[in-house]
């Protein structure tokens, strides 16, 4: 049976934790509202950039060797299954591609991805990007990431961006968008239906599309992360209040037990004198 002091100490610490998780939920709710507002125009960038690939039905040929995986997440935790779902998807893809004999390199946007995959897949990492998630992502961030990828010297034939697509306040889904290399797009048959496409225009478009896709995935990812953090902190506050209720009951029971014990001692002491 715990002493009154232990229970009081526990009660105080859980009450503090509940205050913290409640305030984190408020902060996440505010950030989520802003992120969702900024997501609407950002979706247009993403769908517009990918429209060419879909309309022209560009598919990478099967025999291409070099693959690039970009996992988009963030630096900060306490947001539910956001980081682990991306890491799980990355691990599966790495295994599948390696077994098919392809060369795979991974790029992590956000420190958590590096942390989760460092132990087992550290030799697949091309580079990591940090300071993601502190402020809402801008197109400048996406441009920096795209520039670094293009200058990295890793000539990939095909790639995909893995991110958490925002569906609603309570749900998100891990999704994947393709990236094609210059040769794949240039060599695609259906490209001849488009007017005025030469190698220079195509290369410009490829670079711009890379930045666009990254911007879109960053925006979706932050919105999903904030909504997941809101849910997680809400659950934590609820659990904390449950624990507080239970502990208060045990505290009162313990308090009464202590008083009863003292009474018994006094009364039996007094009875012994008689």
């Amino acid at each position: 049976m715990a002493t009154l002091k232990d229970i009081t100490r526990r009660l105080k610490s859980i009450k503090n934790i509940q205050k913290i998780t409640k305030s984190m939920k408020m902060v996440s709710a505010a950030k989520y509202a802003r992120a969702e507002r900024e997501l609407k125009p950002a979706r247009i960038y993403g769908t517009g950039a990918l429209a060419l690939y879909e309309k022209a039905e560009i598919k990478a040929p099967e025999d291409k060797k070099k693959h690039l995986l970009i996992g988009v997440s963030s630096d900060r935790g306490l947001c539910g299954a956001i980081h682990t779902s991306i890491a799980k998807s990355l691990k599966n893809q790495i295994t599948n591609l390696s077994n098919a004999g392809k060369e795979v390199m991974v790029v992590g946007v956000g420190d958590k991805i590096r942390g989760l995959l460092q132990r087992t897949h550290s030799n697949y990492f091309l580079m990591t990007f940090k300071e993601v998630g502190r402020r809402p992502p801008s197109f400048g961030d996406a441009s920096i990431i795209a520039s670094e990828l293009l200058n990295s010297g890793y000539e990939f034939d095909e790639g995909s961006v893995i991110y958490n697509r925002f569906r609603s306040v309570i749900s998100y889904k891990t999704d994947e968008k393709p990236i094609f290399s210059f040769e794949t797009v240039a060599g695609s048959e259906s490209l001849s239906i488009y007017d005025d496409i030469d190698a220079d225009v195509l290369r410009n478009y490829q670079e711009f599309t890379l930045a666009n896709i990254l911007y879109y995935s960053l925006k979706e990812s932050t919105t999903s992360e904030q909504s997941a953090r809101m849910t997680a902190m809400d659950n934590a506050s609820k659990n904390a209040s449950e624990m507080i209720d239970k502990l208060t009951l045990t505290f009162n029971r313990t308090r009464q037990a202590v008083i009863t014990k003292e009474l018994i001692e006094i009364i039996s002491g007094a009875a012994a004198l008689d």
Binding site: F129, E131, R135, G140, A146, L150, D198, D200, N204
Partner: protein, 60 residues
């Protein structure tokens, strides 16, 4: 197939200078932001702030 259609100087001047399209658009956007009126400039500067840092894995 695509290379045949290239004319004599179809490569853009900035591409010849070694810039990528992304770097080119960044410079153009910077110029546009610098040309904005003060009350809109602050907003644009704030929206364009980029905070991402690169971490290259250490070679062992």
């Amino acid at each position: 197939m695509v290379a045949e259609r290239r004319g004599a100087a179809m490569v853009a001047y900035w591409r010849q200078a070694g810039l990528s399209y992304i770097r080119y658009s960044q410079i153009c956007a910077q110029a546009v932001r610098a040309a904005m009126k003060p009350q809109y400039k602050a907003e644009a500067e704030r929206a364009a702030m980029a905070t991402v840092k690169t971490v290259k894995p250490k070679k062992e």
